[in-house]
């Protein structure tokens, strides 16, 4: 027994097994179940085991699916651009303009304060702010900027994307800030010494070295936005759809196989997007 445990081979397997078991039980098994159920059939009240492609046929045969996927990509792309620009700027400011470590930590904590409340609360609090008689409209009217309340502020794509950006920018800030802090300051000094302008330093030194952080942040933002359903429902006033809402509608109507099929297609889509992202940066190497 003693010898058995001492064997490097066995010990390695034993050490890895808790994580493997957890992942197998809570990640692999549920996904396998979803894939299996996606081939099942459903009546109005129940689901029954089968192996049929009806769910996928219906999914790919409906023009709604394509427009909804397109909409999901649109939300993801626009949100990604804004969170990247804002997140990069904030991280850049924290990492290079704030010199004292104490202030860096203090300001960084400041960024996280909104996250002490729940996601849903932060989302819903936009509704009274953006509403027809909300703070934004009444302020703009009192300043004389507009005469009539702006209708497109709430229950529109604008409000959906605004909320996404608000909810997920921190997921960009953290990884980018983290990689920026690890950039060797002497590299930047070297760039200056060699006559690079601030902009050249940014594009030739800082951005390439920050790529892993940008990529990790991008993966966070893209997967969160593509998997979301509740933000789209609340902020569009149920008037827009993304893939998450298709799934949630199916579940509400007890059409689990159809929901599972949509979930599988979404999962594959997101995996492809991440694979494409990872083509640009080898995260393992850079970390």
């Amino acid at each position: 027994m003693q010898n058995l445990l001492k064997s490097r081979h066995i010990a390695g397997w034993l050490l890895a097994s808790p994580l493997a078991v957890v992942l197998a039980l809570f990640l692999v098994l549920p996904i396998v179940m979803i894939v299996i159920v996606s081939f099942w059939g459903a009546t109005e009240f129940s689901i029954y085991p089968a192996f049929q492609f009806d769910n996928y046929e219906f999914l790919f045969g409906s023009p709604v699916t394509y427009s909804v996927f397109l909409n999901t990509f649109k939300y993801a792309a626009i949100t990604w651009v804004f969170t990247l620009v804002i997140g990069f700027t904030v991280a850049y400011f924290l990492a290079f303009h704030v010199h004292s470590l104490t202030w860096q930590v203090a300001l960084f904590l400041l960024c996280t304060i909104p996250f002490w409340t729940s996601n849903i609360i932060r989302m819903i609090s936009w509704i009274p702010f953006l509403g027809r008689n909300g703070l934004a409209n009444s302020t703009l009217i009192s300043w004389g900027v507009i005469d009539e309340p702006l209708e497109w502020l709430l229950f529109s794509d604008f409000s959906v994307i605004l909320t996404f950006v608000h909810l997920y920018t921190l997921f960009m800030v953290v990884p980018i800030f983290n990689t920026m802090m690890r950039i060797d300051k002497s590299l930047i000094e070297a760039a200056y010494d060699n006559g690079a302008t601030g902009f050249q330093t940014l594009t030739n030194v800082i951005i390439p070295l920050t790529k892993p952080g940008i990529m990790i942040g991008s993966i966070f933002v893209v997967t969160l936005v593509m998997g979301d359903f509740i933000t789209v429902r609340f902020m569009s006033g149920s008037q827009s759809a993304n893939v998450g809402r298709l799934i949630s509608n199916d579940i509400a109507l007890l059409q689990y196989p159809s929901a599972a099929a949509t979930a599988v297609v979404l999962l594959v889509t997101v995996l492809i997007v991440i694979a494409v992202l990872l083509r640009f940066v080898d995260i393992r190497k850079e970390l």
Partner: protein, 428 residues
């Protein structure tokens, strides 16, 4: 009344339950001692599940007090209720479901018909649930009218019959007539027709509920009122009728007619109270909620009539012996007035209104049932004053409101097609 809420927010039922729990209502026991052996009945537990409108903990407490046995309540959304009634007959003794759910579920054979001769107040049950007519002159509305799925041909009957056969599927418990809610202060002119929902005057200020089985009915009321579509039966549309209905509403949606769609009770209240929306589909307790914030809101009677719904309790096929006796005892108690008075104070109607009268004050009875001006304050279940002396209930008396029902909530033969179309409409 399908209403599922995945966000943990409120829905109509949880609001009602909460409201009900805080309402202090004194009732008295009019039916006296339980009719079956008291020593055995204490051990009996009946498990009831349902859609929550009438699944009130106060009712369970009162049952324990008056009848001595235990009633366990489970409230679910109506999709889950339908599924459970159809697939898990062993998990309940009493099903509190809506009539359109009964139409879907009865053929599974999981419920047993009730012998009307054992129901003391059967003769006093409102005509809607017996021969379909509120008064002898009434016309029967479209959709799944309760009496069409109310009777079967015998104790084990699977087929619905069109006469009072003596074997009832559901004992009616609660029902109401739904219409559009409006903000009279922001509209400033009389609203008389369902067509106003798509009136360009209210562009960007209208809303409809995002629950397909009910939303489609409201849409049909609008399209028919506009004269655009003549339905054979709004409660059982053909594919062409479904397509035509969605075409009209999709066009309106693209033109920006709707501010939002709502799915939960609190969303409808907030849309109305904030002034985002001035006209929308609404449920009666939501009007109460807006009014109790001091904001004017009217449950507007419309000339084309109401969209109505009703629920009732049915017995599991597994009930027998003493438990079955207890269930009959419970049903008789249910119709004896206390519950009816409780529900009528929330704006619903009881199946046997005359027994409920004893449990309401003269002012309440006059306001809620007879449509008379209130003689004193009318308070909501949570105790806030909703209407003061002189106010009249929107739509008037019971006979004015229930007599003007144009269609009942229904389940269509083309239900799955309709649901797909609904998803397309939302994504359009």
């Amino acid at each position: 009344m399908t209403n599922s809420d995945k966000t943990g927010g409120l829905n109509r039922r949880s609001v009602l339950k909460g409201a009900a729990a805080t309402a202090a209502i004194a009732g008295t026991n009019t039916i006296g001692a339980p009719m079956i052996w008291a020593q055995n009945i204490k051990d009996i537990t009946l498990r009831q599940f349902g859609t929550g409108v009438s699944n009130l903990n106060d009712v369970a407490t009162k049952v324990k007090e008056d009848l001595g046995f235990t009633l366990e309540m489970t409230a679910l959304d109506s999709d889950a209720v339908t599924q459970r009634a159809a697939t898990q007959p062993d998990s309940f003794d009493i099903a509190d479901i809506e009539y359109w759910i009964c139409k879907k579920v009865w053929p599974t054979g999981n419920l047993q018909a009730m012998d009307t001769s054992k129901i003391a107040n059967y003769d006093k049950i409102v005509g809607i649930f017996r021969d379909g007519k509120l008064t002898p002159e009434s016309e029967i509305a479209q959709g799944t009218a309760p009496h069409t799925v109310g009777f079967v041909d015998g104790p084990g009957g699977r087929e619905f019959v069109d006469n009072e056969s003596g074997w009832m599927t559901l004992i009616p418990t609660i029902y109401n007539a739904d219409t559009l809610g409006i903000r009279p202060d922001l509209i400033g002119r009389p609203i008389e027709s369902w067509t106003e929902l798509l009136n360009p005057e209210f562009k960007g200020k209208a809303s409809i509920l995002d629950i397909s089985s009910i939303g489609i009915m409201d849409m049909a009321m609008v399209c028919e009122a506009m004269g655009e579509i003549q339905y054979g039966d709004k409660g059982n549309m053909t594919r062409d009728e479904i397509d035509a209905t969605f075409a009209i509403f999709t066009e309106a949606k693209k033109a920006g007619q709707f501010r939002a769609f709502w799915k939960t009770f609190d969303e409808s209240v907030n849309l109305m109270a904030s002034g985002e929306v001035v006209i929308q589909s609404m449920w009666s307790p939501a009007i109460t909620a807006v009014k109790s914030r001091g904001i004017p809101c009217v449950y507007q009677p419309l000339k084309e009539g109401y969209r109505s719904w009703g629920g009732g309790i049915g017995l599991s096929k597994n009930l027998s012996g003493l438990e079955l006796d207890a269930a009959y005892e419970y049903i008789n108690w249910y119709l004896s007035g206390w519950v009816g008075g409780y529900l009528m104070r929330q704006g619903y109607y009881s199946a046997v209104p005359e027994t409920s009268k004893a449990f309401m004050s003269e002012n309440e009875w006059g306001y809620w049932f007879e449509g008379k001006p209130a003689t004193g304050d009318i308070t909501s279940p949570t105790g806030q004053v909703m209407d003061t002396a002189g106010a009249v209930r929107d739509g008037g008396s019971f006979y004015d409101r229930m007599g003007a029902v144009a269609c009942w909530n229904a389940v269509m033969d083309e239900n799955q097609y309709m649901v797909r179309k609904w998803n397309e409409f939302i994504a359009a």
